[in-house]
């Protein structure tokens, strides 16, 4: 719920700055390694935006693949979970380099 409330806050601040009064689409990047549950986010977003400038907004979630770099052999790989092992050396010490983001990219407004 808190995430959706933060999103609304960002949108409302942007509305005040860029003077728009309706939001029709919100594009949001969500990494596969972030703790966001997409369905839950859709639900919370429509709940918190009810009665606001974003009440008609469609939430488009852009899925971002997880990527990691092995701390031992330095190879880069697609990560599906935070506990994947390195496919080339089997090590678990992997630094996340992409896929933990939660960010609003763009709005379609009027």
């Amino acid at each position: 719920m808190a995430l959706a409330e933060n999103m609304l806050q960002i949108i409302e601040e942007e509305a005040a700055e860029q003077s728009f009064t309706q939001v029709s689409t919100v594009w949001m990047e969500v990494g596969r390694l972030s703790c966001v549950e997409k369905e839950a986010l859709q639900f919370c977003f429509s709940a918190v935006t009810d009665g606001t400038i974003a009440q008609q907004a469609k939430l488009e979630i852009i899925d971002i693949e997880g990527w990691g770099r092995c701390m031992q052999c330095h190879c880069e790989m697609v990560l599906n979970t935070l506990y994947d092992a390195c496919p080339s050396c089997g090590n678990y010490a992997i630094k996340v380099i992409a896929g933990d983001e939660m960010r609003i990219k763009e709005l379609e407004v009027e």
């Binding site: 806050q9 960002i10 601040e13 703790c35 009665g51 400038i53 935070l82 506990y83 092992a85 379609e108």
Partner: protein
């Protein structure tokens, strides 16, 4: 009244008082149409959802560093023994260090009362429907607690292994508590939390003889998610392993206060 923010979420209570009212100054009436403005356009914003929380967390961290206060954020699922551990830890440390506690629960001030019974000040935050503490609430709680320089500040987060992982409060370390009654695969089921923590306390080890819990396995899983995670086996009720935990706190606290001394010297 809040001086830092134009903040959101519903009704948060601190020691029973509402933190602040929800006001939507920034909300613009959805039916007003500004002439010439109602054409559809795209606005690029590129804003991380948690950027605001992270800014508050940085402010908290800055304040804590300036006052040599060592803050630990205790996270776990409900009932793993956070409050019991805090009470026992306080008993050991309260004669050597000033201590304060911020308690986060959805409802009741039971945990804050348990802490106050030790003689240490505790502030209760009730998050209502909120499932975690955020850096903004904790910043206000820090103000109200009137913290002493070079003290130790514990935050007991709301019992939840999911959301608190994403919310930095400005702490020196997140400490995740897992009790042996919970199942070995918790680190894989809730990897974000074990990834975010620096220490894992495996609590209720006194119960191991009665369970088929596999200690090696849980540690192996935890290290898959976070190879640098430091693990300590403890029993908050029996006191086993508490010495190692207390020593770890003391050395972190020493490092924190030394930083302040060095900073003061360099400004002379």
């Amino acid at each position: 009244m809040c001086t830092m923010c134009g903040c959101g979420t519903g009704h948060v209570h601190m020691n029973g008082k509402i933190l602040h009212d929800h006001n939507h100054d920034s909300a613009i009436d959805a039916h007003v149409h500004v002439p010439g403005m109602n054409e559809s356009r795209r606005v690029k914003i590129e804003q991380a959802i948690l950027a605001k929380n992270d800014r508050y967390a940085q402010e908290n961290r800055h304040f804590l560093a300036g006052h040599g206060i060592f803050m630990l954020n205790l996270v776990s699922s409900p009932g793993s023994g956070k409050t019991t551990l805090l009470v026992e830890t306080i008993k050991v440390l309260q004669d050597t260090l000033p201590i304060a506690v911020i308690e986060g629960d959805q409802q009741t001030d039971h945990d804050a009362m348990r802490i106050r019974a030790t003689g240490v000040p505790a502030l209760q935050i009730n998050t209502g429907k909120g499932c975690h503490l955020d850096a903004h609430m904790v910043g206000h709680a820090m103000e109200q607690l009137d913290l002493r320089d070079n003290s130790l500040l514990f935050v007991e987060n709301v019992g939840n292994l999911v959301c608190p992982a994403g919310f930095d409060l400005g702490e020196a370390h997140k400490v995740v508590i897992l009790s042996v009654t919970e199942g070995e695969d918790k680190p894989l089921k809730y990897p974000d939390m074990f990834h975010a923590a620096d220490v894992m306390l495996l609590n209720k080890c006194d119960l191991l003889p009665y369970l088929s819990f596999d200690v090696e396995q849980v540690i192996e899983y935890a290290h898959r998610v976070n190879p640098a995670l430091q693990v300590m086996n403890i029993s908050a009720t029996e006191g086993s392993g508490l010495q190692q935990w207390v020593d770890w706190i003391k050395s972190g606290h020493r490092r924190m206060t030394r930083q302040v001394v060095t900073a003061e010297k360099t400004t002379l």
